[in-house]
Symmetry: C2
Subunit: 382 residues, 2 copies
């Protein structure tokens, strides 16, 4: 449908967070316009799609764990509804389980600590010996000393998820996608009232959502007190092919710490193997570097030596939106009418359903769900 | 110009060897048709373009050394004439010198032996201490123990050379390029008399040249006694970018033996850095693999650790035409009217001028130059 003269909600940024927020918000009956010159092109496209709140648990992030677990639990219904709304697109959700492995006594101790912490929080994880881990995944390196199996940590093919969201929005009469860059926020009477696009077109809106990942603080016209403190954190990531003769190569997501680098291998149902990822503070640089590719291959080889024979399909770098406390910004900013849904750092794919649901609730009712409350953008207020 | 009904010479294969042979032969006054569905697309495009007969000297290959040195000496005139014939295209020839380095006492001994052998043959090479090597190339690893500087071993940008050859052929009235695959050799009266293209078109010709690299033995209709014994030898190769801030990164080609792998880095004038290459017997497979890329980056990093920061521009695999004795096949085969110019293995770019000149001489006069005589395809006769 043509853009309404003044949509209820204008979303800036068409990554997974923006697209899913647009879809869920339109489902609540609001009219939504999303603008992005190249939707689905950045971190959402590059990501590995791990849904691993239990395996990626960190001390001191219990609040984030609550949101992560909530979002993981929402995934089955979210993708089922999305499949229907999109006219049958497969969102690529796969309940494949995750195996975190240890190489030496130090790794083993770290993993045992993590296991203890997981159990103290009532999370399910199973300790495996090296032999048990290799029986589960025969391609694991002989040097693997033990592992932690988390059957409940799954994955989604983020590229299939993007495609399903595009299809759902296409069929949603209250949503419109504008392939253009928002250049400036329009503020009137102390309130966000729309944006001006790069070509000069003005779009007025009831509420404006910043969902532009690490670029969310770059829009002109945002008053300083409402600027989301996000920064780019570069990640380089590889995709390998698993030829028929090697299938099934891996059936679980495999994670490990190699020389203090976190490495992972995520096997897709259709045979791709995703290898990630570097974590680099390099401003907005997105070059794939010799060193980045070297380290990813070196660490993945240490976990699964058999990758040597696999064709290298793709090398890529993209920018995660980092925040000062590594947790997302969800909800109203200090400027009335301006909301944020950004700063998801390493958990953007995982947090897509919970964020979209929380944002739709806030946009439709003005009230912030309890689970989202700790992630108010106002926590960074001056 | 339109193809003559019956060109004097028909060349199968549009790599550097085929293109240069076509150009030099047309210059001798013969009409030439070259057919290739995708000229300049395989090993000639992938190659690093090292012109390093002295650095790549091997025991037992003194005959090949003679041809290699002859071809290296021809390069300056060859590219000057090509530049003129092409209407000004720069063939990318660079007299940048080559530095072979050693890491440990074993490498050092190997390099010292090579130096001795070079001197015994009257070749010019200068021994450098580790410190001297690093003064010449400050990006070299601190662990480099010594090096052999060969000022006379140069390089050519094989992609610029291809472009110049295309331009020269375009302007050559006696030459024609047909973008189609030769399917079958036509033999009549015990003599090669032309080919049939994949679409059924027949081209009759006075003489036929097999210059299809590792595919030279695949053409249907070649009698067994005339089949060139070439095989594909896969090479994976990388291209990095050198950003302005790092220039000049390297000024010489740097070669080294790392864990018995031969690694090299070739710096282009325009800032590209070529890293090569694997040597794999993998039949006709041309996939870029995780292991290939890993090893190239690992070995190049050992020589020049600073590559870590450089953007990775390209990963590629192509097939060298290997022969039973690692030397090329140049000249008449056992079938009258059928000649070969293939099997150049690792030296195709280097041997382009000498091969093209020898082939033009043979095609125009029927007599084989002395230097090419040892490389007769008939040496593999049954």
């Amino acid at each position: 449908m043509p853009a309404p003269a003044r949509p209820d909600v204008l979303i800036i940024g068409g990554g997974l967070i923006g697209l899913a927020t647009a879809w869920r918000t339109a489902r609540r009956g609001l009219s939504v316009t999303l603008c992005d010159p190249e939707p689905g092109a950045n971190a959402s496209f590059a990501a590995a799609g791990m849904l691993t709140p239990v395996t990626e648990l960190h001390y001191g992030e219990e609040l984030l764990l609550g949101l992560n677990l909530d979002s993981a639990r929402r995934y089955p219904d979210f993708v089922a509804e999305l499949r229907e709304a999109s006219g049958g697109a497969d969102p690529g959700y796969r309940e494949s389980g995750t195996l975190a492995v240890a190489f030496d006594a130090d790794d083993r101790a770290v993993l045992a600590d993590l296991h203890e912490f997981q159990r103290s929080l009532g999370l399910r994880a199973e300790w495996l010996s090296g032999g048990e881990a290799r029986r589960l995944e025969p391609m694991l390196a002989p040097s693997v000393r033990g592992g932690l199996l988390v059957e409940g940590d799954h994955q989604v093919d983020n590229r299939m998820l993007l495609a399903a969201l595009f299809a759902a929005l296409e069929r949603e009469p209250r949503a419109e996608l504008v392939r253009a860059r928002a250049a400036e926020l329009t503020v009137a009477g102390g309130r966000a009232v729309g944006v001006v696009l790069e070509d000069g077109t003005a779009i007025a809106a009831g509420q404006v959502v910043l969902a532009a990942g690490c670029w969310s603080g770059q829009l002109r016209g945002i008053p300083p007190e409402a600027l989301p403190p996000v920064r780019p954190v570069k990640g380089q990531i590889l995709r390998l092919a698993v030829p028929e003769v090697y299938k099934p190569f891996l059936t679980h997501t495999v994670r490990g710490v190699v020389r203090s680098n976190h490495a992972y291998l995520v096997p897709r149902a259709h045979g791709e193997l995703v290898l990630g990822a570097t974590t680099e503070e390099q401003d907005y640089d997105t070059s794939v570097t010799a060193g980045g590719v070297y380290e990813l291959l070196r660490d993945a080889r240490a976990l699964v030596p058999g990758i040597t024979e696999l064709p290298l399909l793709e090398t890529r770098a993209a920018l995660r939106p980092g925040s000062p406390d590594n947790a997302p910004l969800i909800g109203p900013t200090a400027l009335p009418g301006l909301l944020a849904a950004t700063g998801h750092y390493r958990h953007g794919v995982l947090l897509t359903p919970a964020t979209a649901e929380a944002m739709a609730e806030i946009l439709a009712t003005g009230s912030v769900p309890d689970l989202a409350e700790p992630f108010s953008p106002l926590r960074f207020g001056k």
